[in-house]
């Protein structure tokens, strides 16, 4: 019977590059920024790292295939290094690989690094992915917002909600993140945005307007993990340990059967259920002190509040409008501004979220620091709500 990885892995150090339109910086330099900070935080030498996981989603606007460019950029010689790609959950997937390696006892110290250089596409938004020789013959080629916008129609139909009421809840999601982003120095966008600007923005994919969508930016983040014992031996007093990392991928049920109601993301619920069990969480609404969720679009964050079992079904809008997830609410969500303000350099995002939770747990976040958190969650969603990848990590003080 598997026992999970709870408290078997400690985060020794983390780093995060400055996110944004990094016109003069390439992927290698972004990785270097994140890696240098993580290495200094960990207090180890490069030569002590025994294995690496590199997350990058788009090889054509990054460094290419394989982990070789990453191991070359970081000058990590001769160790096992793996490139992982799990769509928008890629960053957390890299962390999962490194954590599992340490938890298994295979290595003592492993690095997870994720980077993406989206501003090299030449336009805003994500490139259109190739879906395979068969799928490209029948699947409509909608954009990412088009995939998630369909949740809004499904959610309205399920809960009998008006377009206006749902849009108000969605707008508060974006408004809150922009408020939080102001005190987040590494965020790409750091400007508060008035509610009416959000509501009246040009349409991207109905009902998602411009401010319902996260930005596109460049970024990288890095984690160095080890066992709690080694971390203490290396002089770490306050430890952040991994309480759980769980991943759930769709088998096509949502998009091929009529059992899914269109209002939620099944895989988030699967991953959350398993992650809570692994971490020993029975009441996420009171036990989680902060969360960083995949707010690629405002509607995504809204339904995620229900999929993480924090808000009751059909009641996320109420909690959101009540300020439950605001910086001064009971469970602050996107205290750093989220994807909304950081943008979504895909390979980096999950690790960027972990960086915020890690930093908050250690009381390092200055102006936006919340009062003595002990448990935080990160959540990524890759693909589309009806055929996707959900990855959840829970980090806490040991």
């Amino acid at each position: 019977m598997a026992t999970g990885i709870k408290d078997k892995v400690a985060i020794l150090g983390m780093g995060c590059a400055q996110f944004g339109e990094r016109w003069d910086t390439d992927s290698s330099a972004l990785m270097r920024e994140a890696f240098d900070e993580a290495l200094a935080d960990a207090g180890i030498e490069r030569s002590q790292i025994e294995a690496g996981w590199y997350g990058s989603a788009l090889d054509n606007v990054n460094v290419g295939n394989s982990p070789i460019p990453a191991s070359t950029a970081l000058r990590l010689d001769g160790i096992p290094f793996t490139r992982v790609e799990n769509m928008c959950a890629t960053g957390t997937e890299a962390l999962r690989g490194a954590a599992y390696a340490v938890a298994s006892g295979a290595v003592d110290i492993a690095v997870a690094i994720g980077a993406e250089k989206l501003k090299d596409t030449g336009y805003g938004g994500l490139p259109i992915p190739f879906k395979g020789t068969f799928n490209d013959m029948w699947m409509p080629m909608g954009s990412s917002p088009a995939g998630f916008a369909q949740l809004a129609a499904g959610y309205r139909a399920k809960h009998g909600m008006s377009k206006e009421d749902l849009k108000r809840g969605m707008a508060h999601v974006s408004w809150k993140s922009h408020q939080n982003g102001v005190s987040s120095p590494k965020a790409h966008l750091r400007k508060a945005v008035p509610m009416e600007t959000i509501i009246n923005a040009p349409m991207i994919s109905e009902p998602l307007g411009l401010f319902d969508c996260c930005g596109v930016s460049d970024g990288a983040a890095c984690a160095i993990v080890t066992t709690p014992e080694i971390a203490r031996a290396l002089g770490k007093k306050e430890l952040v340990t991994v309480k759980a990392i769980q991943l759930a991928i769709s088998s096509g049920i949502e998009s091929q059967m009529n059992t899914w109601d269109g209002s939620h993301v099944r895989n988030t619920r699967s991953a959350a259920t398993r992650a809570y069990k692994e971490a020993g969480i029975t009441d996420p609404r009171t036990q989680l002190n902060l969360i960083e969720v995949h707010d690629c679009f405002s509607i995504t964050e809204l339904v995620t509040m229900e999929d993480l079992f924090i808000s009751k079904e059909g009641k996320a809008v109420n909690d959101i409008l009540d300020g439950f997830y605001d910086a001064d609410g009971q469970v602050p969500c996107q205290i750093d501004g989220g994807l909304k303000c950081f943008g979504h350099p895909i390979g980096a995002t999950g690790l960027r979220m972990a960086y915020e939770v890690y930093s908050q747990l250690l009381g390092r976040t200055g102006e936006r620091q919340i009062s003595s958190p002990s448990m935080g969650l990160t959540h990524n969603l890759g693909g589309v709500p009806y055929q996707g990848i959900a990855c959840i990590s829970i980090l806490g003080l040991a």
Binding site: F130, D136, M139, A149, A153, S205, I253, Q256
Partner: protein
Amino acid sequence: MADFGIKRFGGYVPRLRIDRSLIADAHRWMAPNLRGQAKGARAFASWDEDAVTMAVEAGRDCFNGRPSDAIEAVYLASTSLPYADLQHAALVASALDLPTAIASNDAGYSQRAGTSGLLQALKVGEEALFIASDAPVAKPASTQELSYGAGAAAFLLGTGDDVVARLLGAASVTAPFVDHFRAARERYDYFWEERWVRDEGYAKLAPQAIAQALSKAGIAENDLTHFVMPSLQRGAADAVAKKIGFAGKPADGLAECVGYAGTAHALLMLAHVLETATAGDRILLVGFGQGADALVFEVTAAIGNAQPRNGVSGAIANGIATDSYLRMLSFYDGIDLEWGMRSEKVAKTALTEQYRSGSQIDALIAGKCGTCATIQFPRLEYCVNPDCNAPASQFEDYSLVDEPSQVFTYTADWLSFHPAPPLYVGFVQFDNGARILMEVVDVGPDGLEVGTPLKLTYRIKERDRARGFNRYFWKAAPAGVVGA
């Protein structure tokens, strides 16, 4: 050939319409005299419609859901087919889920490919599906840009008690009369003087063929009930009708709402006439172009049992008015617009995969699980039902093209590259439980909502402009007022 003829018929006209006045207004600065022809509306093919997709729709209208196992051949006539050496009839047959053990052929290179092809198919005497489909393209600011339209007509030919129109007789004349031409690599037609075409062409060649056909049919001019002759020229059909002594009113040329559908037009008019024809009616069908064809049919009592699904009338009634001339121009590549970098996506098709996926993609054949009865598209290796997961070897074919469905989710996507923005996309929920993410087309001003009834339509899924290859697939459209 007395007992052989048309058993079923159907038609299709693209739903998009534009008032001719909008076209004329756009060109008024340089061609003010176009205004004189700017009456009524014309149909135009959407960016994802062509002679192949219209042929499939006409074929579906003709079959009206009835099985077609007895078919021995499928023929397609057109002068606006997308390929130079790829047989389009085979594409149409696959989309219509016809048996593979049939003959097939394309007819083209002639304005009377429709009537000549139909006559040839009738002479062969096999049960066959004959379709004429055309979306002729006219040069911007030409008179043809106003008069052209698009459409397709389909006829199931055969013998038996269910023949609705027997061929009594037919004749052709052939002459090197060049009223207009389109060079093999050119996009647009080049026309000669109208009055010469009318007086020396239509008025002299058509009556020769008609006289012979009537003689073979053993009837006289005044035995005819319907005179069906397409013409690009106003009044040409009336002049020929008058010249041969036809006493009635020539059949509706569909100029008011469809426009001239090229080589399909004669057959489109015939399908339209058959909708209201009654037993005993005699129909003269004339095709013109480097000569003329004349076919004489007699309508039988079976006409009462053979109505198309929507018919030409239904297609005409189901139009969607558009308000932008530039939209139409863009759809037929008459203007080179900046679509942005997103339009640069590589759309290359793996022909191996296309052939392998066969009827799944072409005819939207889902799999019905032999264990749990879940209907699923695409059909992958195991049943999607998590309580079943039976292997696909237990699946039976299940066509989804005529199954009732409605909108389950939707959005209007303004970000993706789409030739007719926004891209409407969402899940189509079939009443039988199947669910597919599909593009939704022909969305009118009312938009979509969860629960909007849908019907499926065969379209170009994506055009690979770099290699000139179309991917065809099915899309959903609001069911509209007709054929829901």
